[in-house]
């Protein structure tokens, strides 16, 4: 059986193709103002890697904030359930999943059967989401990957107090004007975002093992800060961290 899962996120579209339960192809494309083009591109890459055509797919399940902008899937599911299904398959010991996408952070409690027992989503403020990290890396004139590496160089504890992304950015600007070393600012941003994520995660009661997924989870600085904020000794970072929700959708399609 061949199934597909797709995650039409605010910033990127991800497609995963499963052939008899194994990943046969993946595709990712940046969605600009129109998600449709990215949808087609992500599909093209995934199909090419799997060496099949769209007609070979038995069923497609999709999720994501911009799902309404695309056509060509059979069923939809929530990001929360998609993440839970995927993580349970990847590591059945995972009890808590933190997913930080471009515009939203989610904390998900997963029961022993891989079902969602509770979830929390960050509310309107972007300060707990990937878009904020990106804005900050632009402000620091480094790539998002370099931003994390810079943060790892610092051990300073500079507080960013604002709960709002707009005010947090102005705090960063003040730190720049005070000629604070770049690594310290990068770490302060990672710590600030982690604090917000951690307080959201505590709403669902964080239980190990914990997995950290989503685009922002690629950042090494944020990984370290989050681990510290939640006082965890171990956090699980799956391979293909951005594809987790799409993988969950493909699993659902195969059910």
């Amino acid at each position: 059986m061949i199934t597909a899962g797709a995650d039409v996120g605010s910033k990127t579209v991800k497609v995963v193709i499963l052939k008899d339960g194994k990943i046969a192809g993946k595709g990712i494309a940046i969605a600009g103002l129109e998600a449709e083009g990215a949808w087609e591109n992500a599909w093209a890459d995934a199909l090419k890697e799997a060496g099949i055509s769209r007609n070979d797919i038995n069923k497609t399940v999709a999720t994501g904030a911009r799902l309404k902008e695309v056509k060509g899937f059979d069923e939809e599911m929530s990001m929360v359930t998609a993440d839970a299904m995927a993580m349970h398959k990847l590591n059945p010991e995972i009890k808590t999943v933190l997913d930080v996408g471009a515009e939203e952070g989610r904390a998900i409690k997963v029961d022993k059967d891989g079902k969602v027992s509770d979830f929390a989503v960050n509310e309107k403020c972007a300060a707990g989401a990937g878009a904020f990290m990106e804005a900050m890396s632009r402000a620091m004139q480094v790539s998002i990957e370099q931003f994390g590496e810079e943060a790892l160089k610092s051990t300073a504890n500079l507080p960013i107090n604002a709960q709002c992304a707009v005010f947090a950015e102005s705090e960063v600007v003040s730190l720049v004007h005070e000629e604070t070393p770049r690594p310290d600012i990068c770490k302060a941003v990672c710590d600030g975002v982690s604090d917000r994520l951690a307080s959201m995660a505590r709403r669902v009661v964080v239980e190990p093992k914990v997995a950290f997924v989503g685009g922002a989870a690629k950042g090494m600085g944020l990984r370290r800060s989050l681990k510290e904020a939640l006082e965890l000794t171990e956090v699980y970072f799956p391979d293909d961290i951005e594809f987790v929700a799409a993988y969950g959708c493909a699993l659902k399609a195969a059910e």
Partner: protein, 444 residues
């Protein structure tokens, strides 16, 4: 065809007539220059009832403006912007901002100019309450007074009798002072008999509303929360009047009859929910949306207690409708006795107002009581940016529910400021929540 039978409430029309009658009375008083008293509806509104007056309550008025804003945004965004233009910031109570906007714009949502009262009388219960009407008075140029209100602690805290006595005396003495003050600033004579009647009726009507809420323990529920909004409002607006007592007696009979006949508020009730905090008045359709999944909100600590009198029964370890003076075998004869009883009623039995002050164990116990006795499957918590009072302890409550595996959904919004509510995102959260509790949309 649903699982249960349903039918409209017979006293629906009467509720509407009474509600609109309150505002018609205020308009008439404004036009004829007779006495209007304004303040929060959680004020001790039986106090000014010692005069012939019409009472304008700030919270239901704010909710009416927010609701009117669905058709005409000038009543919502427009009034908010008017208060912001006068430098009142967005993080303040949204009812207060909408009220200030209405006053500054000199527009009354029920028609004509804003009705300036003879004086404002407020209680001080949340961070905003006292200041709200102090500011209104400054703008209106009318006298202002405020009764400080320190509710008894929740039962979980074992407050000493001496502490309660002191609070009761403190409130009673303030009430007696306020009566003298009202006579002075209005130049009118306070009628003790009218006041005593108002205290009796306020206690009776709020006890009757609590009894109505008790009937909702039935499966299926006889009222959903949307209905409650139109029913508890009578007590919010005019609980100190005999007409409110009469209305709730009729309603109680009708609800009991519905329960006996298995008449549901919602024909497909499968998943019973409660809500926390005031709803976003401008977007009540979220409650209808729940119904697509067979879920229905059948109440809230807020809707039960805003105008409900609830007493903790130690033996049964439950909250039950509090006994009004007559039922308790008490005859109020003097102004002092009425002030004393009235203080006790507000401090001991207005449980919503306790939760504006005290978070933690007590509120959790009351919510658990509702979950157990009203057979609740899940909770919906409005993280309400427009009300700092009901926001007290919301995240602790979220954690309490999570620790006990009780499904809970949080969504962010604002009771009156439509700019702070994201319908799409809220719907998205409801979809996710329903998926996690295993509910799918009912096929039409």
């Amino acid at each position: 065809m649903g699982i249960y039978k349903t039918e409209p409430l017979k006293c629906w029309g009467k509720a509407k007539e009474l509600r609109l009658g309150v505002y018609e009375g205020i308009k008439k008083a404004r036009d004829n220059g007779t006495m209007i008293v304004a303040g929060g509806t959680e004020s001790a509104i039986a106090l000014p009832a010692g005069f012939d007056m019409d009472f304008l309550g700030g919270e239901p008025y704010g909710a009416s403006c927010a609701f009117a804003g669905i058709q005409d945004p000038s009543w919502n965004r427009g009034l908010m912007e008017a208060s912001e233009a006068a430098s009142y910031p967005r993080d303040m109570c949204a009812y207060m901002r909408i009220g200030i906007g209405s006053l500054l714009s000199d527009k009354f949502v029920f028609g004509g100019k804003y009705p300036v009262p003879t004086f404002n009388l407020q209680t001080h219960i949340c961070d905003t309450h006292g200041k709200w009407y102090q500011i209104m008075s400054d703008i209106e140029g009318v006298p202002y007074n405020c009764v400080d209100y320190v509710p008894y602690e929740w039962e979980t805290e074992n407050e000493s009798e001496e502490s309660k006595r002191l609070k009761r005396v403190y409130m009673k003495d303030q009430m007696l002072d306020v009566i003298d003050w009202m006579e002075k600033v209005s130049g009118k004579k306070f009628d003790d008999e009218k006041f005593i009647n108002a205290v009796n009726w306020e206690c009776e009507s709020t006890s009757l509303w609590a009894q109505c809420c008790m009937v909702n323990q039935a499966i299926p529920a006889v009222m959903d929360e949307k209905m409650m909004y139109s029913l508890y409002i009578i007590a919010v607006l005019m609980r100190q009047q005999k007409a409110a007592v009469e209305f709730y007696k009729v309603l109680l009979d009708e609800l009991k009859d519905r329960a006996a006949r298995g008449i549901a508020a919602f024909e497909n009730e499968k998943f019973r929910m409660i809500h926390d905090s005031q709803p976003p008045w401008h977007n009540l359709q979220i409650f209808r949306y729940l119904e697509q999944f067979g879920a229905v909100s059948i109440g809230a600590h807020y809707s039960f207690s805003l105008s409900g009198g609830w007493a903790y029964d130690k033996e049964q370890d439950k909250y039950l409708p509090a006994k009004a003076p007559k039922e308790a075998g008490v005859t109020l004869k003097t102004r002092e006795e009425a002030c004393d009883w009235y203080s006790e009623w507000l401090l001991a039995y207005q449980t919503l107002l306790r939760s504006l002050r005290y978070s933690g164990r007590g509120k959790h116990k009351r919510i658990q009581d509702i979950i157990d006795n009203w057979k609740i499957d899940g909770m919906m918590i409005h993280l309400n940016r427009g009300c700092e009072g009901t926001a007290v302890g919301q995240m602790e409550l979220r954690r309490y529910l999570a620790d006990r595996g009780i499904p809970a959904l949080t969504y962010e919004g604002n009771l009156a400021d439509v700019r702070e509510f994201d319908l799409e995102r809220t719907i998205d959260k409801i979809d996710t929540f329903m998926e996690t509790v295993g509910l799918t949309k009912i096929a039409k």
